[in-house]
Symmetry: C2
Subunit: 134 residues, 2 copies
């Protein structure tokens, strides 16, 4: 520990730790997948999800496995005319945890805007109302 | 590619790809470090940065190496009374890239907020029409 840190109390310890940024959700591709699914409550076919997130089959499969293991999404396989199709959707717990994560992300944006000395509300009025987890 | 994806054009391809989420910045600990530094334009001593981000010496050193390699931060070592001290600050390019990243993060939050409103309207069609006073 430095001389300075020993001699004076450091205010706001952990102020920028952002513990709520769940690593299962925070990874870039998975964040895109979860935001897509949050916007489509009835779920999305594998092929559409792949296009929306610009992922390959292999990458999407790999990330879906992580999200399913974490209990955030579920996949169901349906057969009808043509090929069988996999539909992916958020679980109820997944939606809750995603909403909690987004509340932390919003705090990061607000902190960064404050650092730029630009009021959040001036740049985007939607943010000033605050994100309300359900 | 699925039958469906081949037969109809998928609108908004890459809509949720969030390409601007630079991986050097997006990692959870590094995001905290950069937000701390953005809020302290004159830089922060290593010890304070460590406390603000709740990181160990080893972890902070590892992440600072990644950020320095990416040209986002610079570290300077000063000697005065007591022990030499390392001060870390954003580079000019680092501040610009951090601001660009935050703009994408803001888009994720706005997308997630829009997604949160949609299910309510789907459950109750009256909501989408707005409140109609008698």
């Amino acid at each position: 520990m430095s001389e300075r840190a020993r001699n004076k109390p450091v205010p706001a310890e952990g102020r920028f730790a952002y513990e709520g940024l769940d690593r299962a959700i925070h990874e870039k591709a998975r964040l895109g997948i979860l935001t897509s699914l949050a916007a489509h409550p009835k779920g999305l076919p594998f092929g559409e999800l792949k296009e929306l997130c610009s992922l390959t089959d292999g990458n999407l499969n790999r990330h879906l496995a992580v999200l399913e293991e974490a209990g955030l999404i579920e996949a169901s396989r349906t057969t009808g005319r043509g090929r069988p199709q996999t539909t992916v959707m958020l679980t109820a717990a997944g939606r809750r945890r995603f909403e909690q994560y987004i509340a932390v992300l919003e705090q990061v944006v607000v902190d960064a805007m404050a650092a730029q000395r630009r009021p959040a509300a001036a740049r985007n009025p939607k943010l000033s109302a605050g994100y309300q987890p359900a």
